[in-house]
């Protein structure tokens, strides 16, 4: 079947099998390998992208279900003015170690801050509770998102 998905502002049309998952559409059809593919069971959250602005696990979403919709991946976080504050926060606060979970967490964090620009630490932890990290113990991830919240006055994506 033919699907057209707008990814990071650009429309892509491809012929795919109905069973193709959005994560494989992004990685294999479009070459956008920043979206990672982990547990395959919608538990770990490394495949998180934004679908119409909402964090969504792309391993449990069909490419067909994204037909006609907007997807944002980690490749679409950086704006014309440079890195998104969330990305800058992860750099400044050492929010990643192996980096496998990082794109998914950043897309979740971006959506959180768009909805709630000044979240408490509890709200940050709740928001990322569907994104597993096996390295950091989450402490620096929370600091990174806090940094982004505290430094987003100028850059709002």
């Amino acid at each position: 079947m033919r699907v057209t998905v707008t990814v990071n502002g650009q429309a892509y049309t491809r012929d795919v099998e109905p069973r193709m998952l959005l994560v494989h559409f992004l990685r294999d059809e479009l070459g956008l390998t920043g979206t990672h593919w982990g547990c395959d069971t919608s538990n770990c959250g490394v495949c998180t992208v934004q679908l119409d602005g909402l964090p969504t696990k792309s391993c449990t979403t069909l490419a067909a279900m994204a037909d006609g919709h907007d997807v944002r991946t980690v490749e679409g976080l950086e704006g014309a003015d440079g890195l998104d504050p969330v990305q800058q926060g992860f750099m400044n606060e050492h929010g990643l170690q192996c980096g496998f979970c990082t794109p998914g967490v950043m897309l979740t964090a971006r959506a959180l801050l768009d909805r709630n620009p000044h979240p408490s630490d509890t709200e940050i932890r709740e928001a990322i509770s569907g994104n597993l990290c096996r390295c950091t113990g989450y402490e620096n991830i929370v600091r990174s998102i806090r940094w982004a919240a505290d430094n987003s006055a100028v850059t709002v994506s």
């Binding site: 109905p18 395959d40 069971t41 919608s42 449990t60 569907g130």
Partner: protein, 291 residues
């Protein structure tokens, strides 16, 4: 790499079209809503539908509103939308308690109320809560519309009384003034199913429990409710002795199984304590003692 087996895909633009597509594609066709239960089962070949009818475009089914003395939740309302709905929280705190511990925030952006009910997983929270609230679902097919009590919707694990070409379009929860409600769940981590969970809705007449609904999830209670517990506490004073009675009765009327989430005895003990806590909070909320 886990991917579903091949299937045909069709998108419904209306409820009528969804029903007609289901009829066209035969009884191996399935409706897909959020897909967060069905797709994992398809990856594992536990489900193998020939055709998926996608109803994600049915915006009409996403509304949540109060209509007279009924809370009407569209079948395609996402868990996140139920959790964010002020009107839901105003009337049924138990629904917000439950939604807060269903899956995780990302999954809740996709998973739907109708999908949860129709998936009929005996460990699923909303099936138990909506049964305790005596909700009914509106079911549509080519022969027209009918309603089914949530307490009678599941016909066993993962099966419902729906005909192959029928779909649930709405959940209707009766609003009876003066209720207090709460839900208590023990789970191993965010996103996991309950080890055990219990919920309660109560109406007080002075200090007496005028009526009550009891939800029991993941513990082998028929239709995920506790009718014996409801009957045992009805008409009794809302005190510690009644909470004890509720705990004992609920423990006795569930039938949990030993599995990787814990031994049956432990789950049975948990049901007692969670019923006690849910009821205690529901009573406090009923009295306006906010917790």
């Amino acid at each position: 790499m886990q991917v579903p087996a091949p299937f045909e895909y069709a998108r419904a633009g209306s409820v009528a079209e969804a029903i007609s597509l289901l009829e066209q594609h035969g009884e191996d066709a399935r409706v897909i809503a959020g897909g967060h239960s069905l797709l994992p089962m398809m990856k594992l070949r536990l489900a193998d539908p020939s055709t998926l009818i996608d109803i994600n475009g049915l915006e009409d089914l996403t509304r949540i509103r109060v209509d007279g003395d009924v809370l009407r939740i569209g079948a395609m309302a996402r868990h996140a939308e139920v959790l964010a709905s002020a009107v839901v929280g105003e009337h049924f705190r138990i629904l917000h308690d439950a939604e807060r511990v269903i899956a995780d925030p990302i999954v809740r952006n996709r998973g739907t109320v109708g999908g949860s009910l129709c998936h009929a997983d005996p460990a699923e929270d909303l099936s138990a809560v909506l049964a305790a609230l005596n909700a009914e679902v509106v079911v549509e097919g080519s022969a027209g519309q009918r309603t089914v009590a949530v307490r009678e919707l599941a016909d066993g694990p993962f099966t419902t009384v729906l005909a192959p070409a029928e779909i649930v379009t709405e959940v209707r929860v009766p609003i009876v003034a003066g209720a207090g409600s709460a839900y208590q769940k023990v789970h191993r981590c965010t996103g996991d199913y309950a080890v055990a969970a219990a919920g309660a809705i109560v109406w007080l007449d002075g200090d007496t429990i005028a009526d009550a609904g009891i939800a029991l999830a993941a513990v082998g209670a028929p239709h995920n409710v506790g009718p014996d517990t409801e009957a045992a506490i009805r008409g009794r004073v809302a005190d510690d002795a009644t909470l004890d009675l509720a705990a004992t009765t609920a423990s006795g009327e569930c039938n949990p199984h030993t599995d990787q989430r814990g031994p049956a005895d432990y789950k049975r003990a948990l049901v007692g304590e969670l019923t006690r806590r849910a009821l205690r909070t529901a009573i406090a909320r009923c009295r306006g003692e906010e917790r």
